[in-house]
Symmetry: C2
Subunit: 370 residues, 2 copies
């Protein structure tokens, strides 16, 4: 392997694949980044066996070949090199790579290339594509509702339910649920449920940055592949049956309010300051076109009042302030509608606009009042 | 206590005194901030018993009085309040404070004011002042050489040796030493050694921000007081005799080079990437107007070469790369001069310019070569 590149392209690619490098894994090879130089340029890749990321970049290849270098050393070295042409030359015998820059050079010992796990790119029949910006928005809108607890793997994933040309995207940790529907450009005859790890979607949103290129999604047996320009992510899928989300979304409401999402988010954040850590429970009272956020704890009391547009009954609830804030921040429009079916039934939050999005939040039962 | 203020002034003052709040101390009162409203405005203060910071700010005082509020709650609340007038009203009976903002209010339970430790402001005879910018520069130039190990308290401090109108400022952790000399505007008859905790100077540099107001320094029995505009820091002094720094600074050299500080800093940072964590030892070889930084470890090899202006003998050294970098970054001029008296004697780093500054660094003894 023998190629030259420039700092910016190389560093950018290293930072992208870095996200899949496994630093905790006992297999040392997984802390490496694989370089593959071929006729069409250089591709680098990393994997933690659950998620793999590869990225190609501009390079002049003199000799094809492969090498695996420790991710931290090569990334930090390139980050610290001045903006000069950089030459990579691999020693095919011992696997080390000499990096030349200006008057200087570093010779980095590598890992045996054959130990690097295969980067499986299964050919899948099921293909569809989503604009990068749309994909990042829907990820942002549902990801907060996934469970963080790895003991419940199903809930750490996001359901992509594809029915002909629509995708229902759903996440829930059983305390809350977020649902978003988007339409695919090409109407197809696809009918499949994919449960994609939340971590994969988080990394996908990061590595596609602000690019609005279409992201091509290919579903295979147990895997999903995302192709976005120079970057490719491969992830395992989560097995199991995602809960039937349709039956938990209330169809009717007894009360409905409309207000600025940010006002309620800020009020509930302030009120939560006086709650105990780990239990940020705030009360919300709705009556006569007015909403009151309140907290009364050992640390003190807060009372914040704001005008709302109200339809239906007066009501009182208690919420986990953090959950309420997550939901309000994901709304994506200035105004939000909240629909209530009763003090202990899930509350629905919807944007004011055309978007097919909602999230659902279970109130908390208060000891002193029903 | 009853006053009104605006968000910006209040938040700024809270962020300043926050630096002295003790979150780990078992005394709960030390996690509080004391408010004192009087005729001349409002002063807030915090202390961890070693360092105290107070700050006054613009406020309209309706009733004088005092209160102590939990630092985290009041700071985070003010940070999250919109930019509206804020009213503070203390309940003299239970010590709670009602904070009113817009249509909302928070009532925060306080600590008993009488439990808050006295903020001693001893009157000292010894007073001098230094421009804020000069003070921050000299702190930056010596602070890196203090010891972090609290078991050697003397070395965690910085010596201010005042002889008539000059101050020698010195720090050392016994592996390296930094010395800076500045002249005071007013010639006086002051003759005193102060050992000021490094942490105090670090906080002083932070809380005086970018202000170039003169900082008035008052030395008392065991304490030092810094007055800078609205802000006042009080710190204990460290007792003991600071080592005689003059006798460790070599007076002569056998070899001397001049080069760009940044070139050497960047080279040694890159070379250190291939060293073992915790032992970032790099070699430096000087011969014939050329300096070579090299490393040869299990992880690989680096060799970087740069031109230098050389006087005297060729030499080879080994350094702790982190220590070398700290010293190079503190230089403050584009070019640096290094003076050597032998492969195991301390090396002197000096700026190229008028500044009376130097730092001194002990080389590392290499096993394989002398």
């Amino acid at each position: 392997m023998n190629f030259s590149s420039n700092k910016e392209d190389l560093l950018n690619a290293l930072q992208v694949v870095q996200r899949a490098v496994s630093l905790k894994n006992p297999l040392p090879i997984l802390s490496g980044i694989k370089f593959e130089a071929g006729e069409s340029g250089v591709i680098i890749s990393a994997t933690d066996l659950e998620l793999g990321i590869s990225c190609s970049f501009q390079a002049e290849v003199f000799t094809a070949g492969q090498a695996v270098l420790p991710a931290k050393v090569i990334t930090e070295l390139i980050r610290r090199i001045p903006d000069v042409p950089i030459f990579f030359k691999a020693d095919p015998v011992n696997g080390s790579v000499t990096v030349q820059y200006g008057q200087s050079e570093a010779n980095i010992n590598g890992y045996p290339v054959e130990e690097f796990p295969d980067f499986p790119l299964p050919a899948g029949d099921i293909k569809f594509s989503v604009q990068g910006e749309d994909l990042r928005e829907l990820i942002r809108q549902v990801l907060f509702a996934t469970a963080k607890d790895e003991n419940r793997p199903l809930y750490t994933g996001v359901l992509f339910e594809i029915v002909s040309s629509d995708i229902n995207v759903v996440a829930t940790d059983t305390h809350r649920l977020a649902w978003r529907k988007i339409s695919l450009d090409k109407t197809g005859d696809i009918n499949i449920n994919l449960i994609i790890p939340g971590k994969t979607l988080n990394e996908l949103a990061r590595v596609t940055g602000s690019s609005d290129l279409p992201v091509e999604i290919t579903a295979a047996e147990n895997q999903v592949i995302f192709n976005a320009g120079d970057v490719c992510l491969v992830s395992r899928l989560i097995g199991g049956n995602f809960p039937n989300y349709r039956q938990v979304i209330p169809k009717e409401y007894i009360s409905r309010i409309r207000l600025k999402a940010r006002d309620l988010a800020e009020s509930s954040e302030r009120a939560a300051l006086l709650t105990r850590e780990g239990s940020p429970i705030i009360k919300i009272n709705i009556s006569d076109n007015s909403l009151v956020v309140s907290v009364n704890t050992e640390a003190g009391r807060v009372r914040e009042e704001m005008p709302v547009f109200q339809e239906g009954e007066n009501l009182q609830f208690a919420f986990n302030a953090r959950y309420l804030n997550d939901a309000l921040k994901a709304i994506g429009t200035e105004e939000v509608v909240l629909e209530f079916t009763g003090p202990l039934s899930p509350v629905i939050l919807k944007p004011v606009g055309e978007m097919e999005y909602l999230s659902l939040l279970l109130p908390v039962r208060l000891r002193e009042e029903s």
